[in-house]
Amino acid sequence: MRDVVVTGIGLVSSAGEGLEAHLTALLGGGAPNTDATTFEPFPVHPVAALEWDRQIPKKSDQRQMEAWQKLGCYASGLALDAAGAKEDAALKSRMQLIVSAGGGERDYAVDGQILTGLAKAGNPGVFLNERLMGDLRPTLFLAQLSNLLAGNISIVHGVTGASRTFMGEESSGVDAIRIARERIASGQDDIFLVGGAYNAERADVLLIYEMGGFLWKKPYRPVRERPADGGGMILGSGACFMVLESREHAASRGAKPLAAIAGIASDRSRRRAGSIEGALHALSKRLGAKPDVVISGATGIKGITDEEQAALKDIAPGAAVHATGDLVGHMMEAQAPTGVALAAGLIAQGKAGEAFVTSVGHWRGEGAIRLTKA
């Protein structure tokens, strides 16, 4: 089996743009940027202002995308730059792509108008047809389709080996990296762009998680302090993409590895009291983890957050524990990639020798990634 290394990271979030900015904020330990008013009573971590032109040069491309796709395309460009791959068209044409994604934004004004009209419509079905036919922007569909983030990355950046899009909330982020790593390790492919994007500043995603009762509705508090007060997650906008490749492939093109992805394990426990603790112990054992730093994907949700904390005390006694959620919020499909990027950055800076990244999905799915020095 071949070693798999991280050679480029592109990261954008409420903490800013680029790996450096994120590591500085992580080690600084201040409170994250939070918008408490736009979606009151739901705080969100809004993405920093970006100059889209820098990574998505064509306005026509920008117009075809909604925010989640633009964030993903932008972060992909940063990752390709960081890996020294941006200008190498031949390399990008054989670079594989796995994206973890949900779906795109809706047209909130149109939805509201239709709902208002439906309540009074004599024939609601016909009314709905007429309004959707008349009011939906034809291109909005392409901005919503899950696999069109990958499609846009192919168009904007020329990454055209082949793309696959994984769905399924937090787990999709872990499994995207897992499958990419396995394909490289087994020799099937040499180089991947992998990651995810999330736009939290959307009423429709807040609605889904509010229906489930998962959202924190008070001023920001660190994830580990929330369970005592009812628990809940604060969604964050951002994106993280990484270039992964075999050690040999990186060496052959003179790319400097930041860290090695030594192992990834994911599973799906049937959730009940104690199952998260058990799952994390099992994952850590499978990976042979002996971390000196932990990047936790904890959500802040009651029960599962406490169990993760308890498990980490055994798995990583004495390790520094950072919660991705306290830096950028919960970025759902992009949460695990972001955790891995932060871990790789800390290792590259010599601030950690081995890192353990956790993902405990807000509703299902557990995963862990072990990173070591390159």
Binding site: V126, L136, L148, A150, A162, E169, S172, D267
Partner: protein
Amino acid sequence: MALRDKQGRPLVAVTGMGTVTSLGQGKDDTWAALTAGKSGIHRINRFPTEGLRTTIAGTIDTVDVEPFCAPMLSERLAMLAAEEAVGQSGLAQEDFPGALFIAVPPVEMEWPQRQALAKASGQEGDVTYKDLLKAAASGEFKPWHDLFIFGTVADRVANRFGTRGSPISLSTACSSGATAIQLGVEAIRRGETDAALCIGTDGSVNPESLIRFSLLSALSTQNENPEGASKPFSKNRDGFVMGEGGAALVLENAESARARGAKILGYVLGCGEKGDGFHRTRSSPDGMPAITAIRQALEDAGVVPEDIDYINAHGTSTPENDKMEAMSCTAVFGERIANLPISSNKSMIGHTLTAAGAVEAVMSLLTLATGRIPPTINYQVPDPAIPLDVVPNVARDAKVDYVLSNSFGFGGQNTCLVFGAEPKGA
């Protein structure tokens, strides 16, 4: 016979198959109708169609779910197909010894649910998402969180069949079903698992989905004669017809399948894929990505173009796809393409979107097993620009050892699979 391929990887056998389409529940019903040239396309009566440009589809109206919505129907179709497939394989029905890879349509809350939230909010003036959020806080709608997040269909299928590990839900648009199979093949070849349950499912014919495709001018508007609307490769083709379906395949390491005495239905010999960065909905004019995907699949299978006896086409009936597919196949197969049978199941079941690659994989394997090639129906006006043997209108018997199945999708997705009754040189 060697149980590894020429590259030393485990051979991947198919030991179970199941499908449900608008032509019937179970692969036997679908196959009988498909080889009889019957269409499953009909007028939509699931919802009012006044004001729509397209009023026909290959919906599956015999399956009841509650609440009726795309994720529930997609889940049910996946379950039905998987029950048939796992049943045929003889593996444990509730303790499947391998991973789950499932292609599912992207889901989101639908209009009946939005309306229920709007009503529950008590807002009698202009409704906004603020009102829906207010209603959501009641906790009364908690089950809809689970229903409308992306990982739920996979989770429920994984629970039902007891598959191992983290199930993978995926989308590569209209090639998703083929990608699910490819992921299973790869996992077995890498030795991660000896078995994989690979599913494609799509039950998403609802007003908004239909209208979205309609607004992209992707759908046929020839509503007068629903059964005649899907006309792949014909000169008068004018778009695809949406269809619903589910299909499941049990893939196994051939060695472990043989060891347990399972009946092997065929082999997935090769997979190929290639991205296209040309445009969001159109293919590169030179066809290079599709050509590359086909060539990769053949190479991966250890066969040459001359070995392929039949192509199960993507054949959507859109002007763009069929032209591009014909050009790509001609580039790979050369002059031989004029006499190489290529037919489209979509002429009868419509485009089952996320499920299509898996449904058509099952039909490809049935062609291998029976030596019968389903026709392309509604082929009355040949397109002189597409000089292919599309097996017009009537099924045909032929000796078929190797089948190529093509799947292409929005977003530059091109995925091709090669199936064989036996590996080459066996």
